[in-house]
Symmetry: D2
Subunit: 428 residues, 4 copies
């Protein structure tokens, strides 16, 4: 093998795979991160409306979590513990029980999977198939659930799916709420498919659904549709799995995206903001009657992240002991909706999509959305797109972003929108 | 939903999934970890011959990595950065280039995947299929490559595979070196299968192989067999993917398990001890001509673990700047081989398996191996089994374990072996 | 092995698999068959409204075909010829060209497959995937295309599908015309799925569709829907395959079920009445630009049925040299529609379905439909059901049935309907 | 659509798919067939050593079968009867019971499938999976079982498999007897794979095996290997399915290819020479305890071929009422072996393969074998090749071929071999 000509290229070109992506949109080197602010090596500050794709709902490097983590490090508590017992795991579980599960009357158990969302999805798939003895899992148009083979089979995006290089099987795709436009009730069609023995659908092991589709374009399912789906699942012996990896932990306005809807999901997948600090951590919540695993039937080397137990516990204590964050999010959500509505009104055919602090503007084309994001970056705002055509400019600001910074960020966005609107739109 | 009766049960029973496993074999609560020593809440110390299943090759909580991590935390450097550029990522890549790749003449690029081994495997599978335009991947009897659907299709263990609940496709299983006993050259058979157009095998996209099978029973492939496989792969237009997740980073005696064999793998998957500190971190090394991804064609929320960049860099600087660790491992390996040989000699039909610091004794039955491990635990040694029947007692001590502690641990193991030998063996 | 107690059981119980089915509904032994009349060993005559499931569109044992076949036999012409050239094959092809293809301006070639419909479907699937380089084939709710693994993957019926015992892959199911009721335009939804890159559908190799669903309940697609589907197929680079196995050869009112609709199918599958005499014979019509097979890439031992070449040619000459059969079928179709309409009017919620001489009454429940058929049999009429719930009483009389016998058969059916209507309907 | 220019091309070029194959090797038009003789339209006679790929074991147009068929036609007995009862079906079953099953102590039932071998295989696959509740079916290197999707998944030939255009799943390929050369006992390896829970094999529903591989190169399994396979199947809860489509009905020397081996197959698939007259007819023999179908769970339009019932019964009565045919075949087999042995001795590296009247010479290359067959055709002998590289010249003469004609045909073959041997061999 010959060595690449090191003098001529930077280290990323030389040694990082071309699969890298965000660094292409945001070509800076970031040296510091605090709250909603990133700082690059030139000392330039950016407001972060991407927030690690909703992995940093409490912002970067929260000081309380940091302090607890440094304390943990200083006394050589366990970093890597497989699934051994540690006080940190116990404390996390107890806090999660006390602040999250018990107040909602949820009897779910926590399954620690490999430390990333796609692994939680893979585990949930296995368990749903084991519980029901069925293979067919339903996922929805525009859904995104991860990039490993099982999760990818649920994911709708064609270019992501093509990456598999093999057939993605044992999944039936059904239309999400609103997939065929306003007048068409997709739930009725789903029911028709389930009740027709010649619909060509195998019996359903589980429905896997996001209540707000983070990657699929910020489509939000109505509570009524979700309740209908829960009812159909129950009637047809299928499990209901809520994928709350992106919409959960406050992002959609409440801890779980399904809070207040009156449903009891059989499983909930969690990751992203679960650790609170951006550390890899994922789990599946499972109702006890479905928790029928053999020991280690699904496992993973990093299924016990000692650091994440600490920060996740602190996050729960700090933000979910009372309803102050929820109220703060509600206020910001209203602001966000209003501001985005005003922007959308200025773009032909644009509309606001999403729920809570997971909203954006469908600007009608991917090139237009990309242009807006690019303009924002030049003005110090990090923001990305979503949707089947990348046509939605998506605001995923930290829930804890200071009000003034939030408004300033929205000002930058508005200016970028205005700027685009003033240009003639290219044919796509 | 009713709430579980909290008074009556401990938090794990109440709220952790029954899938948990190691805590069943080692029922203590661990409060501290340093080097090769774990301490439980009663203050009892244990020597760790499990080492996070080879994720802690440098032991627990290395002080230099810890210091660097605390420093990183203290200045709010990026924890979660997706695949944005950061000085920490650049430093890791530069160090990896300088200390690992360049000295070996390897021109590979580093693909950061989701932070766990199974994700690295999934990425490698996708890329091999994309590069070759073929779907069929060969893996081997007794191989283990992970638990997500794509990786699981490569994994040989029946009970793990059964967990999928669906057909595991697009993989052909071929016999590993020695799979049919001493006299049978499996490489010749593999060649016969490849050259017979009616063998029933589709053209091969890639061979995925561990050079020491960590979960499959510490089977070690000979250098000659590995070279033969590399030759066959090249001759048949297939990629050679070395899964070095468990055997790499010094575990098999050298940084890569294939060092010195004269082969050039097309890809190498790495995880476990890559971060050095037990933090979730994984990557695929890819030869540049195969690095043909579209940006984000495979991605993952936690694909840039800022903390792991720091500790991984320190680990490389500390342990791989010169050959002192390699020499230390060689010495310990010899000791290990000698001691295990002596123990095996006392058990009817037992034999030593493995390579480097990845060795064990096949004691002929899973129940016997389990009994040995259980006895060890009561004597303060944490050690586990491996193999199709869990029949191999596996020593995965930290490479850096102090000599005296290593010998003391082996003494405990020897005593447990002696103890078992003195008992009549139950029929299995 | 022990021998079954022969004295105690009849030969069918003793030696024929329990999979046998029609003989359970029609428990007689039939010794003779002529036109639309079957005669059992007691000399009792039955009118045949089943017609070999549309394999006997010209009735049983047509005298002209019989004479030609006896002549063929008498001079030891080839019975089994693989795909060798014979005068009989040439004559069949020339007649098919002259009477069927050329008048319609069809440039299709004839691929002789194994002698049954499911084999024609399997061949068409392979070829569509080869031509397009895509794997995903669309079939429709309530579609039936055969029982071998590839054809079964297209078939919608759950109990048939369950027979596979393995996952049926590489097929997407979309809603047939009218599948969601009167108000819902399924074509618009199909278009939405095709145009949304996050619909979760892979690019489509082919649409496989019956224009009247013989097994699925006699649902008939409108010409407008068919044209729309043809347009979508073309726009998305997919082939259009019309499965005319049951609806073709005059059954739906014209030689092909798509005659007069203004479409050009890329392939047409034919079997059932193709030989005219009930002999096993099947083919795929393929447009020349898609006829890219390697020799023998798909083959089959019985792909050249010498006897069928003879009878199929005679059938074409006798019935399709002019439009007399078409006009006769049109007249009978009107009568059938009128008579069935009158019957349906007497059953709550019943309705007439189908097209041409492929019509029936949806009587609302499988048990009711079965009761009607049973009553008919006792009165000398052989008739069967269709539909996802076997809820449609299906008339498949020979197209050539004498008018008086047709009316008499319909009288028996009407009486059976009246008889059922007078009974209280059991809960199902 | 434009019409092909008819004046310029013959009917086959114009209207028959390019998939046609045998007519390319044997470019004549055949007008008559009697016994082992084919006559073309120029009146030239050919001896038939292809015999419809073993579909014409009794030669073409046997006069007794013909007479019975003409009689059947003349009295309008049922041609197409689905699975209704007819005297002809009963007579066939009774004769099959009396002459085939009862003398062997076989309690199997007869399942009439679609009228071609691949359909029998598809039915057997379904039933084996249903009976065992397992999905994985084992087939063997160089095996051939048909071209529909399920059967094709069992078939080993790469170019045939590639025709599927999709992944062929749920099958494990294991090495046939002798697949790795003389010294290697593949049965031991199969056993090792079955007994290793980390072999990567799922539990086996069935082994599907030909005792002489007709398409795969006339490899013949030893009785010992077959018995071993039967033993392993039983021990591991798998069914043993003998595919006797090509090797059965006397071809391998006895009615079934497994006669006298002391095994009891769970299922036997039959087709090709089953009707005796070259008519499409296939069935699966099933042990009664496995005959657990629901009515019509597998079906097919042409599953009751009235004509074939007649000729098959006559064939059994004529040829299997006593052992005269068996003795005649034994004598011819010895002659064949001797003559082929003499020919093989003249070709470097050639060897005789096969069993009974299913033998050939492996001449070392496909081009050499093709040249031999081409020479034979010019001398009035129709003969074809077999094997992964088409390297075996295969003799499939009718079992009933007159002795003088058989010897004359072998003389032509010998001359062609001599002719080739005298030429320098081209590099392949």
């Amino acid at each position: 093998m010959s060595t690449a000509p090191e003098a001529e290229t930077d280290i990323y070109t030389r040694r990082e795979s071309v699969v890298r992506a965000y660094c292409r949109s945001f070509p800076a080197s970031f040296v510091q991160a605090q709250g909603a602010t990133l700082t690059d090596e030139q000392g330039r500050e950016y407001t972060d409306f991407l927030a690690g794709c909703a992995s940093l709902n409490y912002g970067h490097n929260d000081p309380d979590m940091k302090a607890a983590l440094v304390e943990h490090l200083s006394r050589d508590a366990l970093t890597h513990g497989l699934d051994l017992h540690t006080p940190e795991k116990a404390a996390f579980l107890e806090t999660f029980e006390a602040l999250v599960l018990r107040p909602r009357g949820m009897d779910h158990r926590v399954m620690m999977t490999g430390p990333t969302g796609t692994n939680a999805i893979e585990a949930a798939l296995k368990l749903a198939r084991k519980v029901t003895g069925r293979t067919n899992v339903v996922s929805f148009t525009n859904g995104f659930h991860g990039m490993t083979l099982g999760a990818l089979s649920l994911t709708a995006n064609l270019s992501k799916r093509a990456g598999a290089g093999v057939a993605l099987t044992d999944v039936t795709r059904l239309p999400y709420d609103g997939a065929f436009g306003e007048g068409i009730d997709t739930l009725t069609q789903i029911e028709a498919m389930l009740e027709n023995p010649s619909s060509g659908m195998e019996p359903v092991a589980a429905f896997v659904v996001e209540l707000v589709q983070g990657e699929g374009g910020l489509n939000a399912a109505s509570a009524e549709w979700v309740r209908g789906l829960a009812r159909l699942a129950r009637a047809h012996g299928a499990l209901l799995i809520i994928d709350d990896i992106q919409a959960g932990i406050g992002r959609a306005g409440s801890f779980f995206s399904f809070d207040g809807m009156g449903i009891e999901p059989d499983m909930v997948t969690m990751a992203k903001s679960l650790s609170g600090y951006g550390l890899p951590f994922a789990c599946v919540l499972v109702r006890p009657e479905h928790d029928i695993w053999e020991p280690a039937e699904h496992n993973g080397t990093f299924r016990g992240n000692g650091h994440a137990f600490v920060t996740a516990r602190v996050a729960l204590e700090k933000f979910w002991s009372d309803d102050s964050l929820t109220r703060e999010v509600a206020a910001k959500s209203r602001l966000l909706e209003t501001r985005l509505g005003a922007m959308a009104a200025r773009i032909d055919g644009a509309r606001v999509k999403g729920r809570g602090m997971m909203r954006g503007i469908d600007v009608g084309s991917g090139s237009r959305a990309a242009a807006i994001c690019e303009t924002c970056f030049r003005s110090g705002l990090i923001i990305e797109t979503s949707g089947a055509h990348d046509e939605v400019v998506k605001v995923l600001a930290p829930l804890t972003i200071p009000d003034a910074q939030f408004r300033a960020g929205l000002d930058i966005l508005e200016e970028a929108v205005d700027n685009i609107v003033s240009l003639p739109m290219a044919a796509e």
